[in-house]
Amino acid sequence: MSLKKQLDRYKKHLKQPGHVEKETTPRVSLTDIQLEKSMKEAAGQLGASILTHEQEAILVKEQRVSLQEKYGRYPLADIHEAVAMWQNDLVEHPLSAAGRKASDLLFFDTETTGLQSGAGHMIFLLGCGWIQGEDFVVKQYFLPGPGHETAFYYHFLKDVTDLTNLVTFNGKSFDWPRVKTRVQFVRERVPMLPAFGHYDLLHASRRLWKEDWENVRLQTIEEKVLELGRAGDVPGHMAPFLYFQFLKSPKASLIEGIFKHNYDDIKTLLVLYIHLTHLLHGKNVQRTPKESYAIAHWFASLGMTREAIIVLRALTDTDTNHDKSRAGAYQLLGECYKKLGENDLALQYYHYVVGELDYPSVNSCIEIAKILEHQKQDYEQAMYYGEKALEILDKKKIINKGKYHKMRAEVLHRLARLQHKSK
């Protein structure tokens, strides 16, 4: 029996589970000449030029926007002010641009043939944007077919020699590993991949908004804080399908929307960086109490304790919300002062949380007990708070059993020691 016949016979078994029949363009075989011709046409319609290398070709499109243009709530020119803010304050912060100029930043985003990270998925559009004089330049590299990756990475890596100031949205775990994977296949024929350093705006955005929002996608951020809305946007998840269609029949109309989407994403990265800078510095923008708390928490976890205290002080002065969020802020203040060795202040804030606000938490009680035990040698009082911690712990709804038992054992151990000491 011929293989063809067998393949037809087994077709039903060969279908991938969950495979949905999609409307697809019939596959037409194109001669090289036809392909070249339609590629030229597509380039013309897209306003892109064709660059070649080793018999391979790619499309490159460059656009310039004046920095005076307002994109959402910010004029693009605000990037200069934002970069200036980092020069003296919060210089240790991961988003800090201290020692850099606005023109050093490279805003970077890719479109891929799939969301998985394996060797079989490709990047077909590399987009990057940077400040040049009075303009924001966006340059996009497009892979017209899988056989052109050498040219694709050759031209990209020839142009972009410094990747130490990459600004991305989830670039560390998405875009960059994919670039590395693909360059692996053509590494002998393209320039070396330069060292990579980055500002990951997804990480920052999650820190600020994860608790409150359903998701922290770029489009959500645009709508909620950047005063941006996209009309007629091609959703990101459609990009692979449109690209597959384009491979079968290279028409510019199929991929125009992807170019636009990528271009918009890169501009959003710029204004998002401006916005995050303002929020972190507390300048030109009103933080919500939750944003303030999240920022203070972030600072504290980075060891920027004094900066965290400043944010918290401002927050506790103004926040008139319900006690839970205030309790959180005061408790964090206690932690910060403790870290600075100012035990009296720390104790004062913890007491405030447990007493005045009447919002006793296991942590505050334990912290009070610790300070009382080690700094004040007041074992009786320490035991009181130790027992209180235990009481709260046991009343809590247990979610993480392991953690619960560990905490409980620690408290009991502390109490036993206090008992011994107080004798």
């Binding site: 393949l7 016979r9 079989g120 899988p146 079968k248």
Partner: protein
Amino acid sequence: MKVRKTMADILSVLKQDENIAYWKTIPGQAARSVAFPETMDHRLVNALTRRGIPSLYTHQAQAFHIAEQQKDLVAVTPTASGKTLCYNLPVLQTVLKDSSKRALYLFPTKALAQDQKSEMNDIIDEMGVSLNSYTYDGDTPGNIRQKIRQAGHIVITNPDMLHSAILPHHTKWVSLFENLKYIVIDELHTYRGVFGSHVANVIRRLKRICQYYGSNPTFICTSATIANPKEHAERLTGRKMTLIDDNGAPSVKKHFIFYNPPVVNQQMNIRRSASLEVRTLAKEFLENEIQTIVFARSRTRVEILLSYLQTLNKGRKDRATIRAYRGGYLPSERREIEKGLRSGDIQGVVSTNALELGVDIGQLQVCIMTGYPGSVSSTWQQAGRAGRREDEAVILLVATSSPLDQYIIQHPDYFFDRNPEEARINPDNLIILVDHIKCAAYELPFKEEATFDGIEVEEICRFLSDEDVLHLQAGKWFWMNDGFPATNISLRSATQDNVVIIDQTQVANVKVLGEMDRFSAMTLLHEEAIYMHQGEQYQVETLDWEEKKAFVRQVDVNYYTDANLAVQLDVLEADKSAVDSEMMERAYGDVSVRAKATLFKKIRFETHDNVGWGPIHLPEEEMHTSAAWMSFSESFVNQLGATKFEEALLGISQILRHAAPLFVMCDPVDLAVVPMIKAPHNEKPTIFLYDKYPGGIGLSEKLYERMPFLLKEVLKMVERCQCESGCPSCIGTDSGDKKGIQKLLRALIGENTYVS
């Protein structure tokens, strides 16, 4: 005061036991050792010497020499023969000489990989060198994965991980693939059937990636005793193999005893329960402090036997300690059992066949098997657990009433003379092949003229391109789909779209019990079906056929369900055929199987009364696969009479259901037997045996070839059964016509022509 009996005392009493069906004494064998090869690194020699290994067994030395010459090899190694040194020595030698070299170890399970890692690390520590050996599996923490990829000299993993996590991400494993010197495949015999056919393709992909990175690793395989180790290894790896089967490890004198429990119901030919007999037998050894391992076929059995045996010697201070051993134990738990056995703190182990898989807990003096393990090779593997150096060893095989057990116990010659089973795979099964060509194309595009380890792929690539999976450009087939092919392809499941069985007994703890292929699910997971899982009963509450989910809840009822499956078989193409006698012709080819579950019956356990029934509403399922069939001539039917013939046909099918898997060494669920009074393609009475995997995995082809021999064995099974007119132990039912079947079989194999 009770005096302890010696092994000799017990054996002499046992010799008088009338239930002993057969007693074979296997003489011991002295070790054959040779000095360490001169080329072997002195650090390795010193480390081994310090660990109490002063020389090598002949087979270990042979493996070392062959592997050193970069020749692929397969070593057949019985239990406890020091097989790990067969691969560890050449591998360590190579990395000691050049620390840039790498080795990849494949084990069928995570537990075995863990074991191997600790053994490997012990030797490495003993040598005091800095070599890295790691396991890489689903449990490996993310933070050390990168280190393993870049700096792991020896990476120990399983085929599933290689398939779904390593090969599709080969760009992260460049230093492994560029420097890969050895690929070690342990427990080769476990890679058979569907699983083996998948693994063979994973190896094709592995070789392809190695070639891309410029390495050409040597394969070192080890296998338990099977009939065709060389052929199997060659099929699995696509390489010419050197076979090492001359085992130099010592063995003690062994008594292999077949024990058949007495018949308690003559007419029904029902025997006393094997578990009860095992209890009595094990007790005798354990009470006299003779270390014993008991094998049982299911977890429930293990637990029952354990609870009984643990009550032994109650009140005695130094009461015997009996431990259970089940699959899924942690290495530390196993090591504790092993230590206890060595020190004598543990007297007995009750185990499922989890221990069959090379997990090393050392050897004991007595091995008792509750029931025939199902294949000659597993039996030898379990038997290998008995044989401690100092004393004689005893192996007791206690038969159950099942036809297979009774056949074996009454045919010791079959067991002892016969080669163990063959391991069969079919890597070229079209469905499996296409799956892996997808994965391979994902990993690296296929050049137009390229083959997949010798297999032409152009037509398949063209097909996949029509399906919008691949895209041809610049002479290469590129993966052009947003999916990740490996996630949808499981190496271990029978078909791609299995039904998942979900236990919702505890609302707060809904869990997945297992999976089942669609075909079997029609009769075993229909709504209201009683589904048995590890001895527990579950009732299917809902079956979502579209979503492929069966929701079950644990129940305790005194019946089981038996569903009726209307099967329509159509022969699509006969590839081979033969006429063995006027009575019968046999053939092999492609068939279409259409099955529809119609109704089910509820049957009470003890009495087999029908206590209820219900309809099954499921759509018809169709599958294309390969089949062997035998058709009987019209004149033959006339001679016997239609009714008698029909009974005989059903009876033979019933025996074949038990016997056929034995001959092709497959899991009984991989093979189906369907009798038809009038087959649609030739209108003759026919028995079909087909592979229950789309496209076939080579089982029925083998059955076709050996049909005359198979029928002879089936006849022997019937003849040797002591029942009068058929029983569940032979023809599967007590209402069959045993004589008719015998006559039919004799006629078929041409022993004498049938006269009515």
